[in-house]
C-alpha cells in the first residue's frame, strides 16, 4: 500500500527566509509525486509534480521540490517566503500503473509566514 508522511503539522517561517515543507513517501515501483496548496475555503491547487527526470522540479509561485529516491523524500522549498504563501500544503503520491487513480495524500502541513 502506498503512503505519504508529512511530519510537521505546522511550520512557521519569517517573511523573506527560505522555507521547506517535508514529505516522505512509500510506494511500490517508481512514484508519481505531487504538491498541492489549499487556501481557506478553497479547493486544492496543483503546485508541481515529479514524474521522472531531473530531481529538482519547479512549479508555480516560485516553489520547487527535490526528489530524493534514496531517502524517499519529496520536500517542497522556496528560496524567499511571502506572507501570501501562508496556507495548507499537501503532498500526494500515486503508483506508476495505469488505472491506479487513487491519489494518496499526506495529512497536510500548515505553513505560516510571519511578517
Amino acid at each position: 500500500a502506498q503512503s505519504v508522511a508529512q511530519p510537521e503539522d505546522q511550520v512557521n517561517v519569517a517573511e523573506g527566509n527560505p522555507l521547506t515543507v517535508k514529505c516522505t513517501y512509500s510506494v511500490s515501483g517508481n512514484p508519481y509525486l505531487f504538491w498541492y496548496v489549499q487556501y481557506p475555503n478553497r479547493g486544492l491547487q496543483f503546485l508541481l509534480k515529479y514524474i521522472t527526470g531531473d530531481n529538482l522540479v519547479k512549479g508555480s509561485y516560485g516553489f520547487e521540490a527535490e526528489f530524493n529516491k534514496s531517502q524517499t523524500s519529496f520536500h517542497l522549498k522556496k528560496p524567499s517566503a511571502l506572507v501570501s504563501d501562508s496556507a495548507l500544503y499537501f503532498c500526494a503520491v500515486r503508483g506508476p500503473n495505469f488505472g491506479n487513480e487513487k491519489l494518496t495524500f499526506g495529512t497536510g502541513t500548515r505553513l505560516t509566514i510571519i511578517p
Partner: protein
Amino acid sequence: DAMVIQNPRYQVTQFGKPVTLSCSQTLNHNVMYWYQQKSSQAPKLLFHYYDKDFNNEADTPDNFQSRRPNTSFCFLDIRSPGLGDAAMYLCATSMTAYSNQPQHFGDGTRLSIL
C-alpha cells in the same frame, strides 16, 4: 478559463433530508472524483468516474451516491445526511487515468447539517 465549478459553495440541510451537490467542468476531462474533507484533514476519496464507469471506494458509506449524466457534470447525492457528514466536499478532474496526471479541484461545497 477552463475550470471545475462546484455549486453551491455553501449548503445547509436538515438531519436526514436528502441533499445533492453538483460539479461541472469545462476541461473535457475523462475522470471525475468526489472527495470529503473534514477540518483541514487530508481529502478522502469517496468515488470516481472514469468516463461512465463508476468506481466506489470500499469504505464509502451507502448513504453516498453519485451520478454522471454526461462528461461535464457529476453529482453527489447524500440520501440521509447525518451530523457526521458535515464537511467540505471537493470535486476534482483529471484528463486520463494515467497516474502522472494531476487532478484539478473545484473550490468545494461546505455542507452543514442542522
